[in-house]
Symmetry: C2
């Protein structure tokens, strides 16, 4: 149990072998909802993200953000005595999560069949770039590798140029959330049937999941529709996309039934009868003209805010395209806890994204921080495995357990 704290997932214990981003996102969501997450870090260095984004006091802000409320146990996994500790921990846990390259868990003797021998109803969630099986499974993988294979990269950028990549962890984060949902569903199933489960969650499958129209449009049209990127604008609705205003950009979604509202906002109701501009299909066909017209109108405002104000008066769906810096103090994001502060005991205070699962009964953004390397070695080994202080000291001296100052 999670030391007196109570939240949606209190009482669930997760053994966490994940590193970097997709796996840690999955287990962090469990930890933030109250589960006890024991992060097993490989000695001597632990999760390599401890070495990046060090902005203050030798603490990694990246590591803190993605490991809130976890416990760290740092073990030499190349020592059989270290692996024996892992073997003792598994029967105490409900869930194991890992994101090694496929095959590594088996090499460690921790494949699903072996885990089942240690705990018959264990739930194992394996997270990878391209999946546990299939001809590409063993390729080295990163977020963007899966993104490229999924066809998502091909849908980003200008149509007459090579594509762009979003500088945001879209695939890793989404995959972590898919994994968290799969585990929660497997826990509900276990409660009903007494059986465990092995989940195979990949960035590729999760990226592919995003194609809300592209796959069926190509396939369903017998190959006539060839989905591709469209720059700043949606390819089948208009106006719908990024419009330039004075001092910045505006996202404008004034298609279908919103078009009359935009025309009213522009005080150009005559456009509702303008030949060739009547439907979205017609406006898409002469998109350049429509865009030029609207951008010319937007340029009559001194800045983005005044243009947005006018559009809002007419209930036209619109938004300023905010920079990350502008999001951090935005009143709406602050009030919702979309952005939150963490106060790290070593690195101090800074901002990170809030927990997106908001519930009526519990505060979403708790005062969590992230563990130093091996911070919970003694805690976990004594409380779960009944090791004595002498045994723990012995394991530290033998290099089986390690810890670090950050």
């Amino acid at each position: 149990m999670n030391a007196g704290e109570e939240h949606l997932l209190s009482g669930i214990r997760v053994l966490d072998f994940t590193r970097a981003l997709a796996g840690p996102t999955c287990t962090r969501m469990f930890a933030e909802l109250g589960a006890e997450v024991i992060k097993i870090e490989a000695a001597p260095l632990g999760d390599l993200t401890r070495k990046i984004s060090k902005l203050r006091a030798d603490r990694s802000f990246y590591h803190i953000q993605h490991n809130l409320n976890k416990k760290s146990v740092c073990i030499n996994l190349r020592d059989p005595r270290g692996m024996a500790l892992v073997g003792e921990l598994i029967p105490k846990c409900d869930v194991v999560v890992e994101n090694f390259r496929p095959g590594v868990m088996a090499d460690m003797g921790l494949d699903y069949d072996s885990l089942k021998q240690m705990k018959s109803d264990i739930i194992l969630c394996s997270i990878s770039a391209l999946g546990q099986e299939g001809p590409l499974a063993k390729k080295p993988g990163y977020d963007y590798i899966a993104q490229a294979y999924s066809g998502v990269t091909s849908m980003i950028g200008h149509p007459d140029e090579s594509p762009c990549i979003p500088l945001v962890g879209i695939g890793d984060v989404s995959t972590g959330v898919h994994g968290a949902f799969g585990i929660a569903a497997a826990l509900l199933h276990r409660a009903r049937t007494g059986r465990g489960q092995h989940l195979d969650i990949s960035l590729l499958d999760c990226y592919y999941h995003n194609h809300e129209v592209n796959v069926h449009q190509h396939s369903g049209s017998g190959g006539k529709i060839m989905p591709t990127r469209g720059g700043r604008h949606v390819s089948y609705l208009c106006p719908a996309g990024v419009y330039r205003a004075n001092g910045g950009d505006i996202m404008l979604m004034a298609f279908m039934h919103h078009w009359p509202d935009l025309c009213a906002a522009m005080d150009k109701n005559e456009l509702l009868e303008k030949e060739g501009w009547l439907t979205d299909a017609e406006r898409v066909a002469r998109q350049d003209e429509v865009i030029e017209f609207i951008e010319k109108w937007l340029k009559t405002f001194p800045d983005v805010a005044s243009a947005i104000k006018k559009l809002e008066e007419y209930d036209v769906p619109c938004a300023p395209v905010l920079t990350v810096a502008e999001t951090i103090d935005h009143p709406h994001l602050v009030e919702r806890g979309t952005v939150r502060s963490v106060v790290d005991p070593i690195a101090g205070e800074f901002k990170i994204p809030g927990m997106p699962i908001k519930t009526s009964e519990y505060e979403a953004n708790q005062d969590y921080t992230a563990p130093c390397l091996g911070e919970h070695n003694a805690d976990i080994l004594s409380s779960l495995l009944s090791k004595t202080p002498e045994e723990i000291v012995e394991m530290v001296e033998a290099g089986i357990l390690q810890s670090g100052a950050t």
Copy 2:
């Protein structure tokens, strides 16, 4: 119970008021994992996505993809007798999901407090663009509106131009999955405590969740780091991004410990000692040179496939940037079920993304299809509410229940 079918979430019943994409993604994931999802569609037309992406036989491929394995009950919600039916259905359900504009559920008498009166432990999941509360909550919202407010749009495109938008439903799909995880967590909590929950899941919060480094880098550097888009390349590692080859593009992730492998693949081990090219930071500083060098080498191959083959020989993380059309028959995606066929009884066979939650015990891609409008009116009203055939006919004749041929 879901007519004899067995999967992870069998036995759970969801009342589904969602339309379009984020909400339907959430409830579809429940339906695909075996829950009974009863989609309440407002007469006369139902979910408006039934009108779009009609590629064959007047059936919407969009609607089919996002409503697999759901049951459709089409009710006139402006008739008090229709709302009375809804009131009778709620106590029979575990979960209610909706994605109306905030305030609409309250106007219908279906806010969380009212639902609790009907069923004390109900779990309500409210999905919206900008959240249930906060100064922007009531703005009309779409995926891209939330994306613009989240700062994600600002991270996509070339740094010296206005940003691009991805033509993929990244925000809606991810938000649906966040909602599904929140509901599953709330069901686990209900099993332990007997209490229900109201979840507030927004596209804005879920989009913001994707900032794996941007928010803490800006905030933690005291505003010195100003995250922005970087075109085709990662801004803090090199090589990492989209490289042009003959006949297409290649995603190449040859940073840090992968750089020596790329140098070996290029047969240019002398680069390992080239001044100014030694670290990622140095290579980022002269990115243009590095990119030009690598692209020149890639152009020595006749096509993308032969360049990929060479890179794979040296275990360099790489991928062809596939078009959506190229993904559909790709052996890896086919073997994994990343892409799958649905066979609709009216529209026939076509391809859509596979179910990304893959488990050891159940087939991920079941032979599901989507309901015609009101297809399950009689089924649900007789089995759950014990209405007689006469009562049902009467409601059809009074226009309280509707149905359609597609």
